[in-house]
Structures are given as C-alpha cells and as structure tokens.
Amino acid sequence: MDNKDKLSEIKEKRKEWEEKVLMPSAKRFGIEKSPTEFYTPLDIADFDFERDVGFPGQYPFTPSAYPISLVPRIEKGAKPGGLKRAGTYSGYGTPEDTRDYYKQMAKIMYTGGPNLALDLPTQCGYDSDNETVEGEVGKVGVAIDTLRDFEVIYEAFTGEQDLDRIATNITISAAANILVAMYIALAEKRGINMAKLRCTPQNDILKEFVSRGTYIFPPRPSMRMFRDSVVFFTENLPGVNITSIGGYHIREGGATREQELAFSMAIGIAYLQEGVNAGVDIDAFAPKFTFNGFGGSMQLFKEVAFQRAARRMWAKILKERFGAKKQDSMRIRCPLSAHIGCSSTTKQRALNNLSRSVVGAIAGVLSGGSPMAFPPYDEPLGLGWSLEARQLAEDATRIVMYETGMCDVIDPLAGSYYVESLTNEIEDAAWKGLEKIEGIGGAVTAIENGYMQRECARSAAERQARIERREELIVGVNCFTEEYELDVTTSKIIEHPYSEEKRYDAEKKQKANLAEVKRTRNNREVTRLLKELESAAKKEDENLMPLFINLAREYATLQEQCDVLRGVFGEWQLDTFV
C-alpha cells in the first residue's frame, strides 16, 4: 500500500472514530465539540524528513543549531558548582560599584566576562551630568560616560581574566559602535590588539523602535551606523559579533509568536542587506550575527515549534535569498532556547514563577537547545535578581539537565504529527507576515510608518482583553485568587548583591567622576576630533568607527559624540502609534 492509500485509509478511520467514539463521549459530557485535539499523519501529509527536519547542526537546522547538545558533563572527582559566569546581565550604579560587584561575584565562582547592563542615559546617549536624566543614572545598569568608566569596571578583569581571555557582552544598540570603540581603546591601553577581543554588542537598533525604546537617531542613519559595524568588525574584529538580534523584546512588547518571527526575520534581512550593499561577502559576516533570544510563553509545544520554525526560516533566508554557502552563515546562534518569557511571570504569589520557569526549561530541551529556567522568580519584584532567586533558577535548570535524562536526545519531538504541523503553521504565518512587511517596503519602512509598533500594541491589548475575560487563565492573577489562598513568600535573608544605598548615591558620584575627566583630559583635542566626526558623519560613505576609537582615546564623552551625530542625523521622536 503506498502513502496515498494509507492516508485515505486513515482519513476514513478518523471519520469513523469521530462518529462512533469521539462524539458519543462528548455527548456524555454534555458538550458539542471536544476541547482536545488529536493529530494524525493527515496533518503532515507531505512531510519530508530531509527537507523539513534534517540532522542536528545542519541545514535546515530544524532539530537544533548544533550537532551536539551543550550539556556540560561532570567529570569524576570534579566539584562543579557556583552560580553562572559573570555573564548574567548585570551592573548598576557607578563603574566603581559594578567593578566591586564583579569582584564580589568572583569569590562565589562567577567567572568569565561580564554581560554589561547599562543605565538608560548611557543607552540613550546622555551623560550622567545631563539635568534631564536626573533620577536615572546608575538605575537599570551601570553609567558609562567615557573610557575612564570602562577602565574602572575592568579592574575586576585582569590576569587570567584579561580582555583577550574573556568575552564581554555590551547591551546597547543606538550607541553600540561608540562603546565598542571604548572597549578597543581600553584593550589598546593594556597592550592588547583589537583583533584579540571577544565581544558581543547588542547592536540591534531596529527592534528598539518596535519595543524596548532606547533609540537615538532615526531608523535610516541608525542603519548607516549598523553598516559601519558590519564593515569595520568584519575587517578588524574577527572575535567580535556584529549584532545580537532580539525577537525576545518584540514579543515582550506585545507581539504574537508569529508576528515576532516575521518582524525579527524582516529586521535580520535588513541588517544582512546593509552588509551586502556595502560589498561585504555574506559568508564573511553572516556567521558573526547572533540572536540573544526569541520570546517565550507558557505554551510549551507552541514554543518548541516556534524555535524549530525560526531556525528553519533563518536558514532558508540565508541560503535561498542571500546565497550563503557556509553552514555557519545559516545557523541561528542563540544562547537562549525556548523559555517562558519574562512577561509570563507574576508579581502575585511570585514564587510560582519558579514553577513556571521549569516549564520553560523543559520546553528549552524539547526545542533543541539547552534548558534554562529563566527568569529567576523575582523578575517582577524589582530591579535585579536576588541571589536566592538565581540559585533556585540555576538548580531548576540543573535538575532538568542532570536528573531527568531529557538532554540525552536532540529534538525528541521531531516527527510528531502535532509538533511538525505546528512548526509548519508558525513558519507559514511568519512568511506571510514577512511578505506583508516587504510589501510595505521592508523593516525600516515598516518601522518609520509605525506598522510594527501598532501591530505590537494591538496584539498586547487583545491579549490583555482575553485575560480580563478569563479566556486566558493566570494562576493567582485572574483565577484562584480567593482569600483562603496563601501568599507564599521566601525569606530574604541573603543580602542582595546590589547595594540600594550605592544605587541612589550613584548619580552624585558619577557626576563628580565625569567632572574630573573633563578637567584633566586634552579638551582642545576632543573639540578638534568632534569637529572631524561632524564632517565625517555628513559623508554617507564614511565609516565612523576609526573616529570613535580616536575620540575614546581622548576621553570624549558618549553624549558629546551623540550630540554631534544628533546634529547631523536628527533624533527619532515619532513614538505614540496607538
């Protein structure tokens, strides 16, 4: 019997089952339609293993980005332990506070380079002494004004942890090139060639307009800055990633799963096109694109399918549209696989977020990545995760990793009628969404005219409406909230690694730090270089990276440089879109 005959037989048998078994059962429960679904080979009738799934770490990357799952093995006699490397998104207050934090963390097994969280003035291109940013200095991250601040932070990273031995993440997009230039200047002062640096700036400006919001310049000049990154990094910084694309932020901003995939692929395409237009070979720079993560939710199977669809879609875009030849160009490099997304956590009965994050960790394994019980349960409670919450999250991840045996098989749901069909469904919807954006004129235009922003806001409002109507249930929020429920909390007996006092003193201290820099640097040279920057910025073809490095060396401030660029590029202000 060939496949076609088999399928029609299944079709007939399904019909028979529905009539004779399913419907009578529904009738007994007094319902018209079954609330549960059942998938069969009919749902993936034209399934083709090699085309749709393939092998791990190989085109089209559906099962996984890599051939081997990256679960660290524990050797006999070894004593693994401690929390994660310093790479947890971290930093607060003044550069001194952040340096001391990393030194303190090193004592409890945090190793490796930092993943720098920067305060909002830094991310938006303002200095700490700017009156309009009062109250924000050192709040959601550390304040960086000049090279001096990098020098201070990296006092915690010397010797075995020197700049040529660690990898740094810098979470900034609009002014990414200016911060990378400071990092280069710092390395230079330590006698380390920039070719030896390993670093990932977020440098994903387009999603800032859609959600997250730390843009400075309008989209088009921002893309010119991105082009500078592609060209300069490819030529001079082999160990520096060009971008860390975040579908995550778009979903957290309200987009549906399908919108997120469509938007982030459209954004990725816009970035790739910049490099191609600048004459860089696609296989020379595409492998240096990373993704910091896609969004997540509590819907486990849909998130698993989403990750599979995302990998397959990106691979097809690279191969079919951009003509990439290298497998490395087609692979999504992303530290975070499926997870629940921070917006799935609740302030109400916050310890429940630990249970939620375990569901996410399981989804992570099933989606072909490594598990991560993310985020720590106290995500909605304040700024910065407590050590207790991080320990619990780490342990939850370890339990999934080492106790369940789940990590022994990659993509265990491959071939599942349901998951394969879901994967197709999500990918198809994303291609349609992408076509729509391309009809508008591509990601940049779809941001300039507010299309993506409006879509996200509308989806967020629709979801909230479903929650209010109780069509979507959230335990402790819109159901199971009677007064006899207990509000279980953890006792906060371990001191938070961020000092509240320091956080609130940071503004004053950092202003003094900056004043001292401005007093002692060669101000004449700074002024000259800023003028040079202005005339270079006016020439569309000029790459500004070498100038940013010169300016960093002379301790020009972030805002001084951004102000020059504001004058030439303008500022993005269209923002309401509701």
């Binding site: 940013v133 924000e136 909230q464 923002d575």
Partner: protein, 135 residues
C-alpha cells in the same frame, strides 16, 4: 440634554524608560471603558507631562515607569500639578514599583499604584470612584 463629559485620562511615560506595553494596553483598555485617553509616548519630562495635562485639562494622569526612576518622577509630576493649581487631578502610577516604595509615593500625593497583573477593569473602577467631580 447635555451629554455627560467623558473622563479624560493622560497616560504618560516619564523619563527614558522604553517599556511602553503597559501604557499602551492601558490606553486601549480605558478607551474601551468609554474614557477619553491621550497617550504621550515615551521620553517625557515631568514638565512636558504637566503641560499636556493642563492643556488637555484631563481628570487623571497615569504614570508608568519600569526603570526604577519613579521616586524622582512621580512626586515631581504631583508637585508641578499642584504648583499649577491642578492638584485636584487624580495621579496614579504603575510599573515595577517595589512594595516598600508604595507608601512613600502615596505620601507624596500619588493616589494609587497599580503593579503587574492588575486588571484594567479594576483601574477603571478605581478611576470612576476617585476622579474629581466632573461639572
């Protein structure tokens, strides 16, 4: 017969915080409940917010911050409103506000703080109950 005036709400994002999902969702939600809602967009100074509130003569100012700058911005907006004889406008806030900051903000004139997970239905009820009497 003169139609009753709709409750007019200004939803504002003070400072550099970019998390605007809550602000936008609330704008939609209160509009659905029949209120007139103006959303300022991101990156508003306290002065800009108060100017918009006065110009539009709103009944309610809703402030949203998830970046930790609420202790600076919320009282600043309240004080500027009072200085401009608009102390009767209802000021409410939302975002990631640690529980221990809520009494501080209330003492400084923010009437209520709504954290994550609040239903818009409840915010609407609160506004209707506490808004200044509309002439």
């Amino acid at each position: 017969m003169e139609k009753e005036r709709k409750i007019k709400v200004l939803i504002a994002k003070p400072g550099l915080d970019g998390h605007d999902r809550g602000a936008k969702v609330l704008s939609f939600g209160l509009r659905d409940q029949g209120m007139e809602v103006i959303y300022t967009g991101r990156r508003q100074s306290a002065e800009q917010i108060v100017n918009s509130a006065l110009q539009e003569d709103v009944d309610v100012v809703g402030l949203s911050i998830l970046s930790g700058a609420h202790l600076t911005f919320f009282p600043k907006v309240v004080n500027l409103l009072r200085e401009n004889d608009a102390g009767d406008m209802l000021v409410i806030g939302g975002g990631i506000i640690p529980d221990e900051h809520i009494p501080i903000l209330k003492e400084k004139g923010v009437t209520e703080i709504f954290g994550p997970g609040t239903l818009i239905k409840d915010i609407g009820d609160f506004i209707r109950k506490n808004v200044r009497k509309i002439a």
